[in-house]
């Protein structure tokens, strides 16, 4: 949330017309960069974060004091090696880490915008981040990469800017949010809105925080990021700090205690309204509908090379949905590679230490960088 941390930020003065019809201007986009941009400006990688991510991809997150959310992937001598690449990541608009969002202070009232904030979409998020790329004066990115909602942004970015990235790597994502996806997001939103401290989104005016609702939303969502097998192996029916059941509603089981913990740490770093807005943006995402039902049309102009990755145990954005992206690209003869990585860590696999994923991703990015530079495209 907006704490007094020195975040890198630009103010976008160009008006941005949102999908909802409203227009925003002079709004902040917070970002972070890692590594150095080379003199040809050919080594820039734009990373898009997922629902609860932020611009702090690697190193220490200055707000949580924990490792950046993609520390396994981005950093020195990591698959995306910051000795070699210039990595950029921006907080999405709607977010709560410095970019324009519901917790931004409205200067005329001195209060948070709250639910007066306009509804935003994945398309709006991507268009805002494009302004950052322009500001950094990068004509062409080497790659756009992201998992989950980050992957949706990758797809939207290439659809909007077909000649701005040489390589696109959408991971564990979908081109269209399914009924199941929407259902889980709605569950989370209802949990927040049912919290009496939500106050129709103006909780900050009353110095309140709907933390119970937000924690429940996080707990429910967290289950969807794991796999049944992973849960069973990690927790089973193991009891938490006790030898026998207590015949009550305390956290008897380790899984209960784990989820409660996940919920409680989340509310310290995330804004409840941002959770509403960003999940809504994901639900509205339907790239094929943007192209009148033909997903291939979204990419027909592009020369971007694609590499799609899914995970065997991801039931939130299953392989079948990732494969639809591959099929759409193949049907227009686009350059696309695809692999499903074996992992029992569920949707979260892309954030975790999954060696075959990290190796394949790293090797692919590095060898493609070499090939593309040799070819001087």
């Amino acid at each position: 949330m907006n704490k007094n941390i020195d975040t890198k930020k630009i103010i976008i003065s160009n008006p941005l017309k949102l999908d909802c019809g409203k227009e925003i201007n002079n709004f902040p986009v917070a970002y972070e960069t890692y590594g150095e941009l080379n003199s040809e400006k050919s080594n820039a990688i734009l990373v898009f974060h997922a629902l609860t991510g932020d611009q702090y991809v690697s190193g220490k997150n200055p707000i949580t004091n924990k490792d950046g959310w993609w520390s396994y992937v981005v950093g020195e001598n990591k698959p995306i090696d910051t000795n070699k690449f210039f990595v950029i990541c921006a907080n999405v608009i709607g977010g709560c880490m410095g970019s324009y969002g519901p917790s931004t202070i409205n200067e005329s009232t001195g209060k948070q915008i709250g639910t007066d904030f306009p509804i935003i979409t994945i398309n709006d998020m991507v268009n805002a981040q494009y302004e950052l790329i322009k500001y950094l004066e990068i004509e062409k990115l080497f790659a756009v990469v992201g998992g989950s909602m980050g992957g949706m942004q990758v797809l939207q970015f290439v659809a909007n800017f077909p000649d701005k990235a040489k390589l696109a790597i959408p991971i564990a994502c979908t081109s269209s949010h399914s009924a199941q996806n929407i259902a889980f997001n709605e569950l989370g939103r209802q949990a927040i809105m049912a919290d009496s401290k939500w106050e129709n989104g103006f909780y900050s005016n009353y110095k309140l925080n709907p933390d119970k609702g937000l924690a429940v939303a996080r707990m429910a969502a967290h289950i969807t990021y794991l796999s049944e097998k992973g849960l069973q192996e990690k927790f089973g029916r193991k009891l938490q700090d006790r030898d026998s059941l207590r015949y009550g509603f305390e956290a008897d089981f380790q899984i209960e205690s784990y989820l409660r913990y996940q919920g409680s740490v989340f509310v310290d770093r995330f804004d409840a309204n941002s959770y509403l807005y960003i999940t809504r943006a994901m639900d509205y995402f339907d790239l094929s509908k943007q192209c009148k039902g033909n997903l291939s049309d979204a990419f027909k102009e592009t020369k971007t090379k694609f590499f799609v990755i899914s995970f065997t145990s991801d039931w939130l954005y299953p392989t079948s949905e990732n494969r639809e992206i591959v099929i759409a690209l193949n049907s227009i003869g686009a350059d696309v590679g695809f692999v499903e990585i074996e992992s029992d860590k569920g949707h979260d696999s892309f954030l975790l230490d999954v060696p075959s994923f990290l190796k394949t991703l790293g090797d692919y990015i590095n060898s493609t960088y070499k090939v593309i530079n040799e070819r001087r495209i």
């Binding site: 049907s331 499903e340 074996e342 060898s367």
Partner: protein, 198 residues
């Protein structure tokens, strides 16, 4: 292997679009990329092999030729290659038809079950043949539909598939197959290589 790669490479014109079906670890793709064309894709069913290919920077899709060739548009590749894989499909005829749709030209190579060394094993030992080129036992072989050079040749004529070029390979000796030497080449070659078109 190298001989087969050379022959395939010689059948392909420079800077064309190529799809290698059942590309394995990408050795042929790499070879063609260095010698013929940069525009080459692969389709492979084994995750591990797909990962090996991607690690080398090759554009490969994890998938099954029997179900996934459909997603490519008609004639979207100048050449589609099927190297020593036809015998492993449940439905080779369907695969050949799909290949002919996706590729303007198709290169199929087949381990020849009519090779005399193979025939002798069955004739004299009375056991299913195991050779350098066909190293599996009957109970663990991935090969479901073994055929001979002559079988494939006849298959093409019965299905009105045009054979542009047919080449026989024995060790490193290369020769052309034609109607008059078909029986001999069928006996004396371990590999047949066909350039075909629908």
């Amino acid at each position: 292997m190298k001989e087969e790669f050379n022959i395939i490479s010689n059948l392909i014109e420079e800077n064309t679009r190529v799809l290698d079906v059942g590309c394995g670890n990408g050795d042929l793709m790499k070879f063609l990329q260095e010698n013929k064309t940069k525009d080459i894709r692969g389709l492979e069913i084994s995750k591990e092999k797909v990962q090996n290919c991607l690690s080398k920077g090759l554009t490969v899709i994890e998938g099954n030729a029997e179900s996934d060739l459909k997603q490519f548009p008609k004639s979207s590749f100048d050449y589609v290659i099927l190297s020593q894989t036809l015998q492993a499909f449940l439905n080779p005829e369907l695969v050949i038809n799909e290949l002919l749709k996706v590729g303007k030209k198709v290169i199929v190579t087949i381990p020849n079950f009519g090779y005399w060394r193979v025939r002798l094993q069955l004739l004299f030992k009375g056991t299913m043949p195991v050779t350098e080129n066909l190293p599996h036992e009957w109970y663990n072989t991935p090969n479901l539909h073994m055929c001979t050079i002559k079988d494939f040749y006849n298959f093409c004529s019965s299905k009105n598939i045009k054979i542009f070029k047919s080449i026989a390979l024995k060790k490193s000796r290369i020769s052309e197959i034609n109607k008059s030497n078909l029986n001999y080449k069928n006996l004396d070659s371990h590999l047949g290589i066909f350039l075909i078109e629908s």
